[in-house]
Amino acid sequence: MCAASSPVAGRDGLAVLDAEEIRRALSRIAHEILERTHGGDQVILLGIPTRGVPLAYRLADRIAEFEKLVVPCGSLDVTMHRDDLRLHPARALGRTELPADGVDGKTVVLVDDVLYSGRTVRAALDALNDLGRPRAVQLAVLVDRGHRELPIRADYVGKNLPTSQREVVHVLLAEVDGQDAVMIGEKEGQL
């Protein structure tokens, strides 16, 4: 299922993680979640659209594989809670889909592809606040590229990727983009 794709350099820049490395990073995060939450009891995984959602489902699959444990999975759209809404034209909303039991009293692990300024996570915390009262909230990201603008950190990190703010990081996932890779490139229109 994971045909090792050769690092693609080109439009999106340089590949820093390939499919196999992404798979290993997610397996490690799945183990870490099980370890940190003492077996994954009362854990739910909420992916932040777009690419956090397939990552959340992949983590749930890994956890099911390792421990025969079904971890409820869902998605949490943060668009309406963003602080930069007025900087762009109104954008289409993503889907929020909560497990049937809701989030009250659960350990919610937010899942996203890239952690950068931390503003998306702040929006997610606000969105979550309106949905119920989790016992704890943790954050899992595939890539942490630094440059935080808010006091936010990830509990589980696939790869720490020191970047310059002039660079852009693209996570490509088979479910959305047809292939798995993490790419790093130069921001367009910037000298």
Binding site: A60, V70, G74, D77, H81, H88, P89, A90, A92, D130
Partner: protein
């Protein structure tokens, strides 16, 4: 999308779908403990109502409040309008108070369009005379889509995770976990709009929007209650309701607008009711899946029988709930993003 919503004709198919899809996501809010989003915090929405209205005004008010906007209600009765203030002066007053959006209902056709030339904020037409009522058409389209389009999930069931089985990823189509209904138009749905088309802004907006979305619209009305220019509308016309019913997926009953009827459009209410009213016998001629809609307020016993209005086919109460959701979507899309650059259009 344009900056104002004056007419259903302003909406392209893509615009209309964006509004319906946004409404689809916002509909989930109704199931939540906190039915509020912070998105329009600090924005001001003025409800400027020159005509009596309960459901539309309350619906817009609820929609704006759920998005955390500040709402100012202005009704012509008991205001400076009673002292003879013109629409323009009222508009400039609102402008000076910093309204980001004005929702206007006015007895004169074209009032919303005029207003749009005077204020900087967005203008939302909530019914102007016998011209248009675009948000009603949007909520009707939304209701039709939820009830009739394939892939509809029906009353919300617990999503994945509650099934207890293995974790099934939602990415069959590879499209970011959207419900199948999203981005679906109303292609091929046959809608019959019945009754007082002449005075109905609801009918006009619905004909425009539903045809944009691919539905086949037929107007069924007595000739006296059809506008002269109906031949140029994107719809069919029939004088015989009974022959249209078996072909209809949706029957939309219009209110007989006694307050706008200055002449004798039909011999008697009883005769109208016999020929164009929807009673149980007529409802039985509909296909099994067909739904009955009414924009409200209803004249029970005139255009719609009480048993029909209360039947399971009737979407009348659903339309009210969907109205709030759809108007939230419109307000979000018009006000949620960047301030529009102050350029002339």
């Amino acid at each position: 999308m344009k900056r104002h919503l004056i007419s259903a004709a302003d909406l392209s198919r893509a615009d209309a779908l964006l509004i319906l899809d946004t409404a689809e996501e916002l509909a989930q809010l109704a199931d939540r403990p906190i039915k509020k989003l912070p998105t329009l915090r600090g924005r001001t929405v003025v409800n400027l109502f020159y005509e009596d209205s309960t459901r539309t005004r309350i619906s817009f008010e609820a929609a704006a409040k759920r998005l955390s906007a500040d709402v100012i209600n202005f009704s012509a009765k008991g205001s400076s309008v009673a002292k003879g203030e013109s629409l323009k002066d009222t508009a400039l007053t609102l402008e000076a108070m910093g309204a980001d959006a004005v929702v206007i209902r006015h007895p004169a056709s074209g009032a919303a369009h005029r207003l749009a030339g005077w204020v900087r904020g967005s203008v939302l037409n909530a019914g102007d005379g016998t011209h248009e009522h675009p948000t009603q058409a949007l909520l009707d389209a939304f209701t039709i889509r939820r009830r009739l389009m394939p892939g509809h999930r029906g009353p919300r069931r617990g999503p994945r995770g509650g099934t207890g089985g293995r974790v099934a990823p939602p990415f069959a189509g590879g499209s970011g976990g959207s419900p199948p209904r999203v981005n679906t138009a109303l292609d091929g749905i046959r809608v019959t709009i019945v009754g007082d088309v002449l005075h109905s802004r609801v009918a006009r907006s619905n004909v425009l929007l539903l045809s944009t979305l691919g539905a086949e619209v037929t107007l069924a009305a007595p000739p006296t209650l059809l506008p002269l220019a109906v031949g140029s509308w994107p719809c069919a016309v029939s004088y015989d309701l009974d022959s249209e019913l078996p072909k209809s997926d949706v029957v939309m009953m219009l209110r007989v607008q006694q307050e706008r009827m200055s002449a004798a459009y039909f011999p008697s209410v009883r005769e109208y009711s016999r020929r164009y009213g929807l009673d149980t016998a007529r409802m039985a001629r509909l296909p099994d899946h067909a739904i009955v809609m009414h924009p409200g307020p209803m004249n029970r016993g005139v255009e719609i029988a009480a048993e029909v209005a209360d039947s399971s086919r009737s979407t009348i109460v659903e339309q009210v709930a969907n109205g709030v959701t759809t108007r939230m979507a419109v307000l979000y899309l018009l006000l949620g993003g960047t301030e529009f650059p102050a350029v002339t259009e």
